[in-house]
């Protein structure tokens, strides 16, 4: 599989604090890659660096072999990326349809009804996004990130605040989209969710890549269990 995203020696400092140090990570097309780690491991910093909200102090970010760290967020999106933030960031004063019309479809056509069905929003087209349940806000948010069928989608904690059933449904949605050709990089910490859909996992600890492997490899590694899973 071809590499779609690659970071080389990515470093970010905030004053004297090193949030991320020499992170080299490579994601292949078709993966559902999880980036996990304890609080303060640097997951969000990594996410913000890749989507263009922070500028790295050192290192490079390659997307489809193109250097992107100097591009602004909207320019990276136009290269075929999708983003979902941690908290649901739908536009509460707009309806579900208006929210979807805001998503940049990059000139690609899509079946609106099928999209709404996939995300269980078919009966809420004209509902204000602010009036949706938390779970449906998360799904609408994922719909916004994936509507244009980008090649790579970043999801930051897509199951935060969701029930077990909602988490499982979110996993199924992501798997379905993955089969349609979307590569996912997901920042999260819900291990049940990781087990459900991850194809590969990168563990961050103290701003560095601590371990990388498949789900069984991560679960069976003693050191990962010690620092992250709390089993030791």
């Amino acid at each position: 599989m071809a590499t779609i995203l690659e970071t080389k020696l990515l470093t970010k400092k905030f004053g004297g604090f090193i949030a991320l140090e020499d992170v080299s990570l490579s994601v292949d097309q078709g993966e559902i890659r999880f980036v996990i780690g304890p609080n303060g491991a640097g997951k969000s910093t990594f996410f913000k660096l890749v989507i263009g909200f922070h500028t790295p102090n050192n290192g490079i970010i390659l997307y489809k072999n193109k250097n992107i760290e100097k591009l602004k967020t909207h320019e990276r999106i136009k290269l075929g990326m999708g983003i979902k933030f941690q908290a649901p960031s739908v536009f509460s004063e707009l309806t579900v349809l208006e929210n979807l019309s805001l998503a940049n479809n990059m000139g690609k056509s899509f079946d609106l009804e099928s999209l709404l069905n996939d995300f269980s929003l078919e009966n809420e087209k004209k509902t204000l996004a602010g009036d949706l349940s938390h779970g449906k806000k998360q799904w609408l948010d994922i719909a916004l990130a994936t509507l244009s069928k980008p090649d790579l989608v970043f999801l930051d904690e897509p199951t935060a605040g969701l029930s077990f059933e909602e988490t499982e449904k979110t996993g199924n949605i992501i798997k379905k989209l993955n089969k349609q050709g979307i590569t996912f990089v997901i920042v999260g910490h819900d291990m049940d969710f990781v087990k459900q859909i991850a194809t590969r996992v990168s563990v961050l600890h103290l701003g560095k890549i601590f371990f990388e492997g498949s789900v069984p490899e991560v679960l069976s590694d003693k050191d990962v269990n010690n620092i992250y899973l709390g089993v030791g």
């Binding site: 602004k72 999106i77 136009k78 983003i83 933030f85 004063e93 019309s101 805001l102 244009s148």
Partner: protein
Amino acid sequence: MKLNIKKNKLAIIIFLILGVVPFFLDSYYLNNISYFMCWSFISLGLAVIWGMGGVLSFGQTAFFGLAGYSFSVISINFLGVAGVGIWSPILALLVTGLFGLVVGYFLFYGGIYDVFIGIVTLAITIVFETFMQQTAGPEYTIGLARLNGFNGMQGMPTIGFQDLKFGLVEGITQYYFILFIAAIILLSLYKFKNSKTGLIFFATKENRDRVASLGHNVQRVQLMAFVIASMLAGLSGILYTNWGGYITPSSMGLVSAALPVVWVAASGKKDFLSVFVGTVFLVWLSQTLAINGAQFAIITMGLILVIATIFFPDGIILMLKNKLIKKFKWLQS
């Protein structure tokens, strides 16, 4: 430009009433209403950037004054040149738009947001006012036009065609001219609001980062809206200068800068028609109260702002409009 008659019956009725008003009122009242309507454009501009995009500019009067002074300087210098009454206001409007573009560029691309935009724009208008007040000396002359310091400029030609009957924008022609422009501007603004760009701009109010993460250039959309707002403020400035035949630095001062914010907040910043009607009403109220002393008008406007902010955060006129539509459902069906 299509007009949805079904949904805009109230607006059509208001404009029809304003259209027949000259048959019942004498020129004194018509001139007054023209004056009140002059100010509606600066408010509409503020409704665009603040009501739609959440960007509160406290210094729209900088564009108002710049347009008024530019119109005066250009038209005085080219007095007698063919068509000066037509192209000088257009040129003044373009100068204002260009200035809006420069200011907006530094604001949005410089990463200045939220309350700081209000502070920067207020500073600009006060700097303008202070500078223009110092220009009383003969050295402050642009071509043939003396800036005239505190007393301001006068003697500019009237907008329009000199040789045509009713060709000059004065009296009843001025009334219909401003009314016509108001109708066109309102239609255009509703069109902008319902466009994809308008939707993107509206969404930036809630979450700029999310809009950028959907692949939209937030700064460019905000800059575009800022230029529209600055040109609308400029339109007010030009029409005001034409109406009175003068422009003074005080039109860019602190009180002048605060008033459009009060008008828009009290009217209902999310609805253009409410802002238009509210501004006309509140300018009338200000003028009426000012007869007994300017301070009464200012205190009343402050009181209205406080009442609107606490009890009617969506605006008093918008609240009345919604009640009217609720009572007479045929107005929007």
